[in-house]
Amino acid sequence: MAKERDNLPDPLLARLRQAGTPQRSIPAEIDSAILQDAHAAIARRRRMRLFLRSSVGLAAAACVLLVVGLWSFMPGRNSNDINHDGRTTIADAFTLARKRAAGDNTITQERIDQVAYAAVHLDDGRGATR
């Protein structure tokens, strides 16, 4: 290959060399503008990705809150049913009182009374009826 090139006439070689080099150089402004556009596009894409990720996170958090909220307000849900037997009786207050007596200071006497009064409440729909 090199041998064949050496055999070419000099003017032809000069023309060939000239054809391989760019005729015009790209101005620095255009180069810079293209670079800036590329950076902007990358930043846009990054922002979109971040937005989508945070949206998914927020949506998941909202779903969790919704489920917890619905669960709390479900008709059968009863925060005074400490032993989870489906009804509020003195057994629930007694459970709390025993825990308090065992040293659980997070349980107040007011909370125990609240459960006990819920147990004897006449119109809660869970109390005994005739």
Partner: protein, 153 residues
């Protein structure tokens, strides 16, 4: 000379007033009114018998049948573990039904038959009410369910 028509009218009015007054007096002096009924008070003692088990908590429903009975007050039981007034809904006062409950974390707890509550009733009329007890919960000191029998008198 008086006009006869005016004199007749005056006399009629006077007679009517007299008749009305007589009727009022007669009504006031009549026999005692039938809607006024005798009122008396009585207390109902509620006993629970847990046999050999220690009684640490109870809940029962008491209601009156027959007669006109109203709950007017509640007090605790004979054993010191249940001496304080039990839990009850104040809305039960002036009614004939109440849910009563109490617990004790004392070491000393009653066994056998013990009076756990005394319920004061106001009875109106001659009919004698009957009291029924429905046990809702009875527990031992560890929170375990225990069998009891109930009695009121």
């Amino acid at each position: 000379m008086k006009r006869p028509v005016a004199r007749t009218l005056s006399l009629s009015c006077f007679i009517m007033v007299l008749a009305f007054a007589a009727a009022v007096v007669a009504h006031g002096q009549s026999a005692p009114r039938s809607d006024v009924q005798a009122v008396r008070f009585e207390s109902v003692d509620v006993f629970l018998d847990s046999s050999t088990h220690k009684l640490a908590a109870y809940q029962f429903e008491l209601f009156a049948t027959g007669g006109h009975a109203e709950i007017v007050g509640l007090e605790g039981g004979e054993h010191k573990a249940f001496a304080h007034a039990p839990y009850y809904d104040p809305a039960a006062l002036q009614g004939d039904r109440v849910i009563v409950a109490a617990y004790s974390i004392d070491a000393e707890l009653p066994t056998g038959k013990t009076r756990v509550a005394r319920i004061h009733m106001q009875i109106t009329g001659a009919e004698v009410p009957e009291y029924q007890i429905k046990i809702m919960e009875t527990l031992g000191p560890g929170g375990e369910k225990i069998a009891v029998t109930a009695e009121s008198r």
